[in-house]
Symmetry: D2
Subunit: 313 residues, 4 copies
C-alpha cells in the first residue's frame, strides 16, 4: 500500500505501573463470561424460554436486563453468565440455541469477555479525547486492544508513542479523500479492527466507508444534539447564549450527526464564560461522554433499534 | 378518642381540573397489573422457575428487573405483568406460588396496581413538601389515597382544605408525647393507613411507634446523609463551607437519620449564597427527593435489605 | 369591555399560614434597597465613577457585580445598596446621576425593592407551572404582586381560587385572536401589569402584542433550546432518542422560541422512560427553570443584550 | 541529602504537539495582567477607593468581583487588570498602595499572570489524578511550572518520564516519616515550590510540614466531605447505601479532612454499582474536582477565611 506504518517495539501495557487502578478492577477484567444480546418481537414465554435454555446448560446468570418497547412491541434483552460451570461448548452454541431463536424470530449475538474487541482510533489535532482513551486503556478501564491510531495530522504522534500504540499518519486532501479511505479500510482489515472511535476526527466519512462498520463507528460531537449539529457548535452555542453546553456520543450513520445517541451530558456555563471557557469546559465533557460510550460498546451493553440505543447498565 | 377530626365534605380529587397532566398519565394510572417482589439466596434456576410459573398462567410480563448482590449472594427481583390475560385467580396466588417460593426460600410480596395504598402525611410548620405532595396527588402522579394529614401545628390546615384532605391537629408536648403517639396510632389504624410520610415533621418518633410501620415510614432529611445528620443541617453546611447541599429520603429506623436511603440529590451553592439561600434552594431539593421516594414506594419499586435499598427503575 | 372578571373577596396572602418558609425569608423580603442596572461601552473609570457617586451620597453597597463583554467592548453592572443611610432623595436620583450617565453613555435603570412589580400569569390547561408559581408567591419566595391570571380555558380556575388570585377566562379562537389580544392588553393596562409569565400558555402571541412588553414576557419552553423548538418537543425528544431532556425559560421575541435565554436545565432519561415519563420528569424541570427565571427577573438580576442575558447571581 | 533525583534531559512541554487545545487558549495564557486579592472589614468607600487608585494609574480593569459576608462584616475582592497601559512600576506598587490598604486595614496580595507559580505533586500508587494533571499542564490548561513529582512508590515513574517532569522516589516508613518530611521540605525549598498538590498521596502529613505551606497544600479526598472523612470512603459509602458519591478538594490543615473546601462534586450511583464501579466512577470525579481546584488556585481565584473559601469565578 505504500503506507508508512510506525510500530513501536512492543504493543500494549508495557509501560504500565505494577499496581494501578486496574489492579482493583482485575476481578472484573479477568472475568470469563458470555453475553447474549437479543431483540425480537415481544411475546409471551420469551424470558422463560431463554432462562430455561441457560439453566439446561448450567449457566450461572450474573446479570440479566430486559426492556420492552410497548409502542413497537419489541423485546430487548442482555443476559450475562459465568462460563465456569457452563456445560455447553461455545462452538456448539449456535446449533443448540437455534431452535429457541427461530421460535421467537430473534435477532441475537453472543459475545465473550475473553475476546477483547479491537478498536482503531481516528484523531485530528485536538488530542484530549485520545489522551483520555489511551490513559483509560492503559489503566485497564477499557477491555479492548488498540492495534492502530490513524490521524490526518502528526500532532498526536508523541501520545501514541508514550502509550506504545502504532500510529499511522494519513493526511487527507479534498481530491485524495476517496483514495485515503480505501487505504484506511485496507489497514483496518489488516489489523482485524472491530470498531472505530472518532476521537475528534475532523473529516466527514463517506457513506461507502460507513457501510463497512454499521453501528460500529462511535463519534463524539461537541454539542447537545440535536442542538448545534454540524460545524462550530461551541461558537454557535456562545452566540445563542445557552446556559448549558453539551456533548453527544453516537454511532455514525450516513446522515451527519444524526446516528443513534449512546450518551450525552451537559455542563453549566454563565455569562462569565467566554468562548475559550466553553471550549475548555466542553473538552472535559467530551472526554467523559466518549469514554462512557466506548466502554459500554466494548462491554456489549448497547443495542440499536429505530435509530435509538438501549444501554443496559 | 376525644380527638377533634376535621373532615371536609368530600375527599379526593374534587376540585381538580378536567384535563390536567393526569389526563396524559391516565393510561398508566388505569393499568391493571400485578407486581411480585422477591428476595432470596441466589442460586441457579431462579429466573427460569419464576418465568415458567408466570408463563404457565399466561402472564404477559410488562417489566422484569433483577439484581444480584454478589457479596451477600442475594437475588432480588421485581416483575410486573398485565392481569388482563392472567389465568390464575389472585386469591389462589399464594397457594399456587408457594411450591416455587419454598423451593428457593423466597421472601416475597404481591402487590396489585388496582389497590391504591393509603398514605398519611405528618407535617409541622414548613409546608413546602406537603404542598408538593398534595399537588402531585391531585394531578394523578401519586397512585395512592390520602385519608389523613396529621400535624402538631395548625399552620398547614388551609392547604389540607384547599385539597380537601382531612386534617388532624395533634399538638405534641414533652410530657404528652407517648400519649399523642398512642392516639396517632389509633387514628392510623382507624383509617387503614399503609404507610406514613414525614413531610418535614419536626418530632422524633419513638421506637415503639416505628415498630408498627417497619420500612413504611418515609422521612425527608435536609442534608446529604450521612453528612450533617441530626439537627440544623443547613446551618452546619453553611458553617462548614460546602459547595453543594443535599437532601435525603430514607425509611425511618430506630437510629436517627440512619435508615435505608431511598433517594438523594444535591444542588450547587456558592459563597454568594447566604443561609437563607441554602434554605430556599434546599426546599426545592427536598420536594423533588421526597416525591421521588414516595412515588417509588407506592409503585412497589423499593426493596430493602442490609439497611440499603434497591430501587427498580 | 364586556369581560367577566372573577375577583375573590380579598386578594393576596390571606390563607397563608402564620409561620412558613417566608418567615425565614422575611429579613430578605423586608429589605429596603435600590438596584442600579447599567450597560454602556466599556472604558476606563466606569467603576470609579459609579462607586464615587454612590459614596458621595453615603450609599452602603450590599452587592456589586459587573461584567465585561470583551468581544463587544460592553460594560454591564448591577449594584445594590441599602437605602437606610442613603442621603439622596430618590425623586432627585435621575437629575443627580445624569452627569455620570451621560459622560459614559450609559443605558441605566433604577429599581426599588419596596416597589413590588406586578405580574400577570397566562396559562392554558397544564397547571403545574401555575401551581408552582402560586405556591412560591404565597410562601414569600416571589417578591411581586399577582393582580391577574388569564387563561383560554377554565381548568385552572380552582387553583386561582385556592390562592385567591383573580382569574380571567378568555377563550381564543382562530378568528377572535386579534380581538382577544386587544382585550388582554386592556386588562393588563387596567391592572398596571409590569410583566407577563407564560406558564405553559399554548397560544402564539402576535408581534403587536409582544411589542407592548419588550423583554417583559417570560416563557417556559419544554426543551433544551435550540433543540426541539416549536411544537411537541417531548414527542420529538422521544423519537430522537436523546439521553437528557431539558427546559428553557426565555424572553419572548417575535421569532418563536428564539428570545434571550434566562435559564435552562436538564434531567437524565433512559430507554426505560416512555413518553409519559418524559412528560412527568419534564414537568418538574419546567417548574424549577421557570420559577428561577421569574425570581431573577423580579429581583432585577437579568440584563439583556445581543439576544442574550447576563444573570447577576 | 543523599537523595537520588531523576531529572530528564529537558523539562516542560517538549513532546507537546504544535497545535493542540492550548493553541486556542494561548490568548488567555499569554495575557499580561495583575490580580489584587483583598479582604478587610466591610465599610463604606472601599470600592471607590480601590477603583480610584487603579484609575489614577490608568489600569484597564478586566474583571472585578467582590463579596460581602454580612454576618462577619467582611469585604472580599478580586480585581484583575491589564498591565499594558498601567502606569505604575510594579516594584513601587506596595509603596503606592499602602495608604489605601492602611486606611481600610486591608489584608492584600498582588499576583502577576507572568509569574507562573511552581507546583509540586505528591502521589502514591493511584495515578489517575497525576495523569490528568500532567496532561492538562502539557495542554496549557494549568499556568504553572512543575519542577517536581514526589512519590513514596515507583509506580508512576513512567508517567513522569512521558511528560518529562523530574520524579523523586521517597519511600516512607513508620519510623522514617519525620526524616523523610525533612528531606521533602529541603527538596521543595531547593526547587522554589510555591504550592503542593496531593494527587491521592496516601500519607498523612505532620502539622510541622503543613505549617510551611499554609493554605498552599491542596488535597483530593474521595468523598463528599464531611461525609466519610478519614479512611476508605468508597467502602463506607457502599456499606451505607448512598445514592450519590462525591469528591472534595480542600486545603490541608492540621485537622484531617477538615480544611477549607475549594470544590466538590458528586455522581449518581445505583444498586447495580458494585464497589469497583464506585471506585471507577469516583476516579473520574476526583480528576475533575482536583483539576478545577488547582486551576482556581493557580489563577488566584481562591480566598480563604473562617475555614471556608470564596472562589471568584
Amino acid at each position: 500500500m505504500g503506507l508508512r506504518e510506525t510500530v513501536p517495539p512492543a504493543q500494549g501495557q508495557a509501560p504500565r505501573s505494577q499496581v494501578t487502578l486496574d489492579h482493583l478492577l482485575r476481578p472484573l477484567a479477568m472475568k470469563n463470561t458470555a453475553v447474549l444480546l437479543i431483540s425480537c418481537p415481544d411475546q409471551k414465554g420469551l424470558v422463560a424460554a431463554i432462562a430455561d435454555f441457560l439453566l439446561r446448560h448450567d449457566a450461572n446468570i450474573l446479570h440479566a436486563d430486559q426492556h420492552q418497547d410497548a409502542e413497537r412491541k419489541l423485546f430487548l434483552m442482555r443476559v450475562e453468565w459465568d462460563l465456569a460451570d457452563f456445560r455447553l461448548d461455545l462452538s456448539a452454541f449456535e446449533t443448540a440455541f437455534r431452535p429457541v431463536a427461530d421460535k421467537f424470530a430473534m435477532n441475537w449475538r453472543l459475545a465473550l469477555s475473553a475476546q477483547r474487541p479491537r478498536m482503531a482510533v481516528f484523531v485530528s489535532k485536538y488530542d484530549h479525547c485520545l489522551a483520555d482513551l489511551l490513559y483509560r486503556h492503559q489503566a485497564g478501564e477499557l477491555h479492548c486492544d488498540i492495534p492502530l491510531i490513524i490521524s490526518n495530522h502528526e500532532d498526536t504522534h508523541w501520545l501514541a508513542e508514550a502509550y506504545r500504540i502504532p500510529f499511522q499518519h494519513m493526511p487527507v486532501h479534498k481530491d485524495s479523500k476517496r483514495e485515503v479511505e480505501r487505504d484506511q479500510l485496507a489497514l483496518l482489515r489488516h489489523h482485524h479492527v472491530d470498531f472505530i472511535v472518532l476521537a475528534r476526527y475532523m473529516q466527514v466519512l463517506s457513506p461507502e466507508f460507513i457501510h463497512h462498520y454499521p453501528n460500529r463507528i462511535i463519534n463524539i460531537h461537541h454539542s447537545f444534539l440535536p442542538a448545534f449539529h454540524g460545524a462550530r457548535p461551541y461558537h454557535r452555542a456562545y452566540e445563542r447564549g445557552v446556559k448549558l453546553i453539551g456533548a453527544t456520543s453516537h454511532y455514525v450513520t450516513e446522515v451527519l450527526d444524526d446516528g443513534p445517541i449512546i450518551e450525552q451530558d451537559v455542563v453549566r456555563i454563565s455569562h462569565r464564560d467566554q468562548l475559550e471557557d466553553l471550549i475548555q469546559k466542553g473538552a472535559d465533557l467530551e472526554k467523559i461522554v466518549l469514554s462512557r460510550a466506548v466502554r459500554w460498546h466494548i462491554d456489549n451493553r448497547v443495542l440499536v433499534y429505530a435509530n435509538k440505543t438501549v444501554v443496559f447498565d
